[in-house]
Amino acid sequence: MGGFILRRLAISIPLIIVSSFVVFLLVAAAGDPLAELRGNPNTPKSTIEARRHQLHLDKPVLVRYGMWAKGAIHGDFGRSFVTGEKVGPKLWRAIGVTMRLLAGSVLLAVLFGVMIGVVAALRQYSKFDYLATLFAFIFFSMPVFWLAAVLKDVGIRINEAVGHTWFFTVGEESPGLAGSFVHVWSDRLGHLVLPALSLILIQVAGWSRYQRASMLEVLNADYVRTAKAKGLPPGKVIVRHALRNALIPVVTLVAIDFGLLLSGAVITETVFAWSGMGRLLITGLQRQDINVVQAWLLVSATMVIVFNLVADVLYGYLDPRIRRA
């Protein structure tokens, strides 16, 4: 297993280098960080030239990429073109925010996705199964920005009806939040509910379908029939023999999805104004802040690779045949 992990990591390094280079070229070609200055007749040419020089925009793209890569290898992601702030702290801050949004959401989504999928499979063609199917199709096909907008509207209507702000539509917490532990965490929870719900509903929709399909396949397998024929209690058959095997594809999927979500639930974060990885990318792109975009890419690519690896390892853990192979 150790060798397998090392091999996978070795393959991913050139992948990261190539992707960072391509993105650098794309962002560099996408726009001009000094466009606003150039459009302002009051800005002296000398100032624009000085800024170009300061941001190394007067150097060829390849040289600029080399400078960035050299810094990145040493853990220095450079400074934001726009604010002059070091990119490192910005990035870690954004990861923290995204993690706060994702940790609970993914856990709940997995829990509900698996539960709904399993029950739907066990009671195939029942009312529950049809309802679960309908739920899954609706939320699976629903654009997240629209779902977020609907959830916001519902949340505000509830607030208006009760005359108290239970649900918040922007940010991670109220400005200047202070007070008792209960007050602070109830405020944070109020901010978390709607964005988390928009993530959970969509993820549950997808994962429950995978779980249902996988469970159905396993329930019809010979070894499950054998287990039943041996007279094992139904609970034991389902949990130990069926569910464990049926979890394999879902666990893999969840691990890969989690890696992708860590790169930023871009739309959810944008709509709910969470200053996480998604918003970091969007504002970085809007302002042509190449160092920010590059740092985001590096972290995101690493996350995707690591969680793909985690998926492979988990697969091996759940299915001993893979380990032996």
């Binding site: 001009d32 459009g39 007749p41 954004a94 739920f135 918040f168 104004a273």
Partner: protein
């Protein structure tokens, strides 16, 4: 006759739940998307001055996070910084919503003490102190000038205009400054805005002190509010500066909440998560916010104006008759009706390129071209020797009258504008080819190199039109992309820069504008709207479309006495 319930019975039993749930979801969805209740608020940009109580806070939903705080640098010269720093660092003058000026940090207007050499004396308020007790002094004026007079290329200065004309700055006493100019500079009141505390900046010598000292904090205040904290990516808070020399501000605290996705701002306002927003107006949002109960909102027309600039180096556009044909052929009123009237009935075409319509001194000089007149347009072309071809397009010397119209690609409003203009000029017999580029290419390469025929973009009007006009329309100026030149206009603009009497200066500039309507250096279209919305709990908030931003009278803002 179909029996009631027959449809339901035709559905297989195992599918009925699915159908019922679908219907419920659709009904629920429709309910969620239904119209909001109509509010009772007036659609105005200001609240009448009422009884104000002291205390409380306001949360402002800001489009962008500040990039730093020294707004005098090009790095920080944006509205995201302006809405914060104008409450903290003092300016010699304050610009009111009608573009008029009033001394702010100064103890009375700055005085011109000599015409030759042109000398201006500035007296700083005796009571003006920084929040650490250090007086705001001539040192602060000197420091600003030293870093914006274009003598050190390492200084990052957003605008050197005016400062580069000062040959000598004398500190007569700690509270009096005397500036001597190379040549008369009537827009001297534009100088010394948002002065940073020099005694703090000087701790880092040279350009670095100016460029970087205030990246993370404005450090000190000599304004109504003082910086308290900046939670990056989330909020910035300023609190009342009890050491300010002016009247005591009513609100204890102002919080800037960063909501870069402007679509999230209306919901945040409705849900009381922010109390005020000032986004780039988008029609659907404006209409939604107007329906919020307990919210006052309004559209104003700001200093930014759209126009068509003509390239005088183009063989066709060099002919005044072609420019006239375009001015007669472009239906400015139709453009305003299509693109701006949906925002406000008050939208109108702009008939002056030096003053905007909300500015004192505005005179409408474009009346000759107020209404589209295809006949006059074609007559002008025929007078210049053009003949209409079989395809309906005029030609001269075997060359079709084909012109490129260039604007910023991806800007929906301008793209729509381009299509309208193309159709309008086709009716005249002018073939317009849309030739858009991104911002970088347009302003970085094409406009400076003159690689365009007709350019559609925006300029920003200022309370200091003399220096602005010379920059935009003066012979040889880098911003004069169309390479327009008229010595008579240059002369009028130079005279206006030397004229300290505001009435005479306005007359000179309006004379220059009248001449430029004859020359048709460009064709002004309309002013762009601004949009402000705030909770009815607050009073004394009034939009100010200049660089002062709506925060121009922040010390007067407060909660209404009746607010809970």
């Amino acid at each position: 006759m179909k029996r009631k319930g027959a449809f339901v019975r035709r559905i297989p039993r195992h599918l009925r739940w699915t159908v019922l749930a679908s219907v419920l979801v659709l009904v629920g969805g429709a309910a969620c998307g239904s119209d909001h209740k109509k509010n009772s608020s007036a659609n105005s940009t200001s609240t009448a001055a009422g009884a104000v109580k002291d205390g409380g806070q306001i949360v402002f939903g800001a489009d962008q996070e500040p990039t730093g705080f020294n707004i005098g640098t090009s790095k920080d010269n944006g509205s995201s910084v302006a809405v914060v720093i104008r409450n903290i660092w003092p300016s010699a003058y304050r610009v009111r919503p009608d573009f008029s000026l009033e001394p702010y940090l100064l103890d009375g207007p700055a005085t011109v003490t000599s015409q030759n050499p042109f000398t201006v004396e500035w007296k700083i308020k005796q009571a003006a102190n920084w929040s650490d007790g250090t007086p705001v002094s001539a040192d602060d004026f000197e420091y600003y000038w030293q870093h914006c007079n274009a003598t050190d290329k390492d200084d990052d200065c957003a605008s050197t205009t005016g400062y580069d004309q000062i040959t000598k700055l004398e500190k007569v006493d700690p509270k009096t400054v005397r500036t001597v100019f190379k040549a008369p500079f009537s827009d001297y009141e534009s100088l010394f805005g948002n002065l940073p505390p020099s005694h703090i900046a000087k701790k880092t010598p040279g350009a670095a002190g100016w460029n970087t000292t205030f990246n993370d904090s404005p450090m000190l205040s000599a304004g109504p509010y003082i910086f308290e904290s900046w939670q990056k990516g989330s909020t910035l808070t300023i609190v009342r500066n009890d050491k300010w020399w002016g009247p005591k501000p009513h609100l204890d605290k102002i919080i800037y909440r960063f909501l870069p996705d402007s679509s999230s701002q209306p919901d945040a306002l409705r849900n009381n998560e922010v109390n005020m927003i000032y986004p780039q107006p988008q029609l659907d949002q404006v209409n939604v916010v107007k329906g919020f109960p307990g919210v006052t909102s309004g559209i104003s027309f700001g200093p930014t104006f759209e126009h068509l600039t003509f390239n005088f180096k183009n063989q066709f556009l060099a002919l005044p008759e072609v420019r006239q044909a375009i001015a007669y052929g472009v239906d400015r009123q139709a453009i305003v009706t299509t693109l701006m009237k949906p925002f406000s009935d008050k939208a109108s075409q702009l008939d002056n390129r030096v003053y905007v319509s909300t500015q004192k001194g505005y005179e409408a000089h474009g009346q000759d071209f107020a209404k589209v007149d295809v006949g006059k347009a074609q007559a002008a072309l025929e007078k210049a020797g053009f003949k209409k071809g079989g395809d309906g397009i005029y030609a001269k010397g075997g060359k079709r009258l084909q012109l490129r119209l260039s604007t910023t690609a991806g800007n929906k409003l301008r793209e729509q504008q381009g299509v309208l203009i193309q159709a309008q000029l086709k009716a005249v017999g002018i073939d317009i080819r849309i030739d858009n580029s991104d911002n970088k290419t347009l302003f970085g390469t094409r406009f400076p190199k003159g690689d365009f025929d007709i350019a559609n973009f925006a300029w920003i009007g200022t309370p200091f039109p003399a220096s602005s006009a010379r920059q935009l329309y003066g012979t040889g100026s880098a911003s004069n992309y169309g390479k327009y030149t008229n010595p008579a206009v240059d002369d009028l603009m130079n005279k206006s820069l030397a004229e300290v009497d505001p009435t005479k200066r306005t007359a000179l500039l309006n004379q220059a504008d009248t001449t430029m309507w004859t020359d048709l250096v460009n064709l002004p279209l309309y002013q762009k709207p601004t949009f402000i919305a705030f909770s009815d709990k607050y009073t004394n908030i009034q939009d100010n479309t200049t660089t002062e931003t709506p925060f121009w009278n922040v010390e007067e803002w407060g909660l209404k006495s009746s607010a809970g």
